[in-house]
Symmetry: D2
Subunit: 166 residues, 4 copies
């Protein structure tokens, strides 16, 4: 019941921090390890940071690295932490690369509030994404707002900050 799971970190709001000397948000290290400890997670999880960027800054090359990393890793169960703004684009790139047909279950997730800010949705979303990744059939999904969406039928509603089918 506990298959190995790979977590690929790409950055996004999920991992943003506050730079107190410059008064702005930035990326340092991922919080995924700390979150898994706080969650008392006992899954067989291997975490690797691919990049630490805002998903609005994600370019074709970055997206290609995500796709290739998901295709190349040994695990068939994968969670990708990702900025919310272009999560659907990356999902579609993963679908275009045939990740589902390759037997991979890839679940993208992120957060609207940085984990470091104390009142984040990130911990809930990580629990949700890791759970969906264990039981959903091969394919590409987005896990946000407690729900899961097929990767080619999801969009972010920028007015409400939530994900919906479409």
């Amino acid at each position: 019941m506990s298959q190995p799971i790979r977590v690929f970190v790409t950055g996004g709001t999920f991992d943003k921090e506050y730079d107190e000397l410059r008064g702005r948000l930035y990326f340092k290290d991922t919080h995924v390890g700390e979150m898994l400890r706080l969650a008392r997670c006992r899954l067989d999880v291997t975490t690797r940071t691919l990049m630490m960027i805002d998903s609005l800054d994600m370019k074709d090359d970055d997206r290609r690295l995500v796709v290739e990393s998901c295709a190349a890793c040994e695990e068939s169960r994968i969670v990708v932490t990702h900025g919310t703004d272009t999560m659907p684009e990356t999902a579609r790139a993963l679908i275009a690369a045939g990740l589902g047909a390759k037997g991979k279950t890839v679940v993208l997730t992120g957060a609207m509030i940085p984990y470091a800010f104390g009142s984040s949705d990130g911990l809930f979303n990580l629990g949700s994404a890791l759970s969906f990744a264990q039981v959903l059939p091969p394919g590409v999904y987005v896990a946000m707002n407690g729900r899961y969406f097929a990767g080619d039928k999801v969009r972010k509603n920028r007015d409400s900050g939530t994900f919906e089918e479409g």
Copy 2:
């Protein structure tokens, strides 16, 4: 993809708070609603508090109320928040009552640290339980530590504070 989910609250560490006048832990109201808001949850969730007790204090009558509530509610997807100490006993009571055969997916979850204490595993576990409840076939499960367990094959390891098969 978003079926209605029922959450039954029974108390447990999950919902404990600190009584500052008496210097002890106690129960007031459940935090599930606040947690779902923090999580930006957009599932169709109806929450009902059945009791607010430590699961070590849960008696046969209490357990019967949990079973009957799960059997009687309209929803076929159910999450039960529960103290960790006797979570497996309640799972077995639900199995004995044939909840799975009745087409119900019941997922029990809880927390090792109270949500109100700021560094809780509760938010992760709630995200996990709500996700498993959406996709697992009818049956009774425990969702803890990022994993899910068949309700009749799970025990709490009191030395490590984690759940394992057995």
Copy 3:
């Protein structure tokens, strides 16, 4: 022993929040009231928001409003929450206006991390500033890093993010 204290809010990092729809920091309402409740503060405090701005954006007119508000209010004990970047400038404006000679004890304070982010120095600084305001003789002071500084002999070290004499 509990004289009335006036708190004037001007914004600064202290009160910044995260705008989850736009992924940037902004100002909404002050957190001072919430902080005083959390602190179980039983001082006779009246809070008034003068502005909600980054202190780098504070102009002469804004600074004049701070000075006039401190001069005009009934209370002789005053705390001003303020962005850290130009706190010494406002202190000097208050000194130039002779606030100390008018019998007022004015203590400026702020934070390096927004209170809303959960790991802020703001609560400590507010406790510190309110305490210094009660016992220091008339004059203008900056309370940061647990210390207090004469308002005309303080500067922010931008490399360390701390205040020092100078």
Copy 4:
């Protein structure tokens, strides 16, 4: 302006933690060091743990150790973290030992909510106590609820959980 300050830790709610294996509150290590870091405190503070106990369990011998430690340390500015229930008793023991006459400013403080629980008054109280300790004349004081009280004219109101003159 920055004289050396000694902090003596005695335990109390301030430093209580949640034992997740036993579901009860207990003492491990003090959080004072972590709190001073979070506060970006730049005072010359030396912290020493004298005991880690609930103040209801504080016996004459314990109280004597607090008194002797305050009398013997080199610093004339002292903060004592203490459980709230018997804080006035310890204040009176310090007065009886003539700490004020010995030129010492001793400020007792504590918390109604453990610092580890995330919504504590402890950080505010620590900021307040360290500030009062710097500027109040020799004597023994209690700093709680943003106020300071003469050590022989203070009592805890157990119904409201706040301190008042008396």
